[in-house]
């Protein structure tokens, strides 16, 4: 949700490595989240299933959930000893996350050759993971309880699809941490954001749900057409002279990195890693400034002040 922004700044910028850092904050929201581990015969097919189930999962407003790959899981750490990928799914409430899991696992993981799907989040609160997919078995599905986990075996055309019965869900998740990267060169800003997303990928328990982790269509709240959001004209370089712009004459491009995490601390760690990466690699790529998206501080429970996350 954080691409909706009004961008209230506190005071003047701080400068590091020649990059100005606005004295402002990213405004993030409490969310619910679950995690699953998708395995397959090879890392390639585990990743394929994970990417597919994460598709159309950029913004909870339009997609119903924000989804992404947290990290790859080594065979030694998966229940079936095969390579896996952990996917995190964020939504407004546990029951909405459950509905998204049902559809995404049913359409994207069950269908992927050789796949299996397991709980990927230890939590006292649990939601159904197999509801939906297991009934594809048309009565031939069987369950096997091992320890505290129950696994369903669903006959499919390449053998059996195995899915764990329940997945953990957390209501302590945070969605909408963000960084705005501003520069004089569109390609340079994009390369900088790519490297920042790669740095964030090393932080556990977070995802960057937008395409490649990067948003180019930051938005403001409201629209003259009644839509809930519309383009963030204050950060559109081609409108600089026509609106109350937040950009300088040299600014040609603004890209945003949105971060969702299982905890507020995880989002903070990702903000720190992303900001450091931008400061390290941005100066050579014509990045001139960093900012963050917020709503004035009145909507989101979590405020990430950029100055608190500088290296």
């Amino acid at each position: 949700m954080s691409e909706l922004s009004e961008n209230v700044a506190d005071s003047g910028p701080i400068t590091r490595n020649g990059i100005a850092i606005d004295d402002t904050f990213a405004e993030a929201f409490g969310m619910s989240a679950s995690g699953v581990v998708v395995t397959a015969d090879s890392p390639k097919w585990a990743r394929q299933a994970a990417i597919t189930m994460s598709g159309f999962g950029t913004s909870v407003i339009g997609c119903g959930a924000e989804c992404g790959i947290d990290h790859e899981v080594a065979p030694e750490a998966t229940p079936d000893g095969r390579p896996g990928v952990r996917v995190l799914v964020f939504g407004f409430a546990p029951e909405l996350v459950a509905e998204q899991l049902k559809n995404r696992v049913g359409q994207c993981v069950l269908t992927s050759p050789g796949s299996a799907c397991f709980n990927g989040l230890d939590s006292a609160r649990r939601i159904s993971l197999s509801a939906g997919p297991r009934f594809f078995g048309d009565g031939w599905q069987t369950a096997r309880k091992l320890g505290e986990s129950r696994y369903w075996r669903v006959p499919v055309m390449d053998g059996e699809f195995v899915i764990e019965d329940k997945a953990g869900v957390s209501t302590d998740a945070v969605g909408g941490g963000n960084i705005l990267v501003i520069g004089r060169d569109r390609v340079g800003v994009l390369e900088t954001c790519e490297l920042a997303v790669a740095a964030i990928a090393n932080v556990p328990n977070v995802i960057t749900p937008f395409p490649g982790g990067i948003v180019r269509s930051g938005s403001k709240v409201g629209s003259k057409y009644g839509a809930p959001a519309s383009t963030n004209d204050a950060f559109c370089p081609t409108l600089r002279g026509a609106v109350n712009s937040n950009l300088s004459a040299d600014d040609k491009c603004v890209l945003e990195i949105v971060i969702d995490g299982l905890t507020a601390e995880a989002v903070g760690n990702a903000m720190r890693a992303g900001i450091k990466a931008v400061l390290d690699v941005g100066p050579q790529r014509n990045v001139t400034r960093m900012s963050a998206g917020n709503y004035g501080g009145n909507l989101g429970q979590h405020h990430y002040h950029l100055k608190d996350y500088l290296p």
Partner: protein, 269 residues
Amino acid sequence: MSALKLKLRSAPPVRLDLSRLVPGRLAGLSSAEIEKLVVSGGPQGLTVGDCFEVSGAPGEDLIFEGGSDRFDYVGAEHAGGKIIVEGDVGAYAGRRMKAGHLEINGDAGVCLASNLRGGIVSVGGSAGEHIGLPRPGEKDGMAGGAVIVHGDTGDYPGERMRRGTLIVKGRLGKLAGARMMGGTIWAEQGLSAGAGIQMRRGTLIGPRIDEPLATFVDCGTHDLLILKIMAVHWRNTLGDVAPPAFSPPRRLMGDMASLGKGEILLTEG
């Protein structure tokens, strides 16, 4: 780690009900109080002190120094810690046990692990008939946990089993998994005649079967992912006694005279 030791004075003259002698029920009792616990009915009314020399203090571990096939209900309702029996036990050892470990370094009598709920029961010798059998009025046989028998078993092992694992290193008795509803029976030496009769769900695994029932249907040889998951789980929970890895098994489904969702997996094809 403290341990309470009960040294058998002499072979018991009558059957003993040792269900009260589990760590959870002995916690907080003094040696004198433990010695006064009654362990047999009838006119003799034998106490712990009559049958055992008591030493040590109640804690997580309980050790019987010496055993007898008249030791009934050893480890019944056991809910944590470890019970070791240096000898044989009688009927219903580990009945309705919930957690912890029961190690029997001898033979076990009938109805071992009746209606077991959890934990691990390990028998160094052989076990009698009806492993896991529920008592009258109970719905399920074994309903969780794991039983490892290093020797042979009597007939009807795993009768009406719903969950859990039974591993038999020696010869498995006839009619294994009768009326089974879930769980796994693994017979390292092979399955005997009548295995899986009237089973609804569940899995029987062995290298071969003596006389397969006509009501099981051949579904071919398959590499089943659930076996990898089970292998990982068993390795983590059972350690060295976990069954060895094997090649993709031949799958027989049945009992088609019942629900027909059970399976016999034959690892030698």
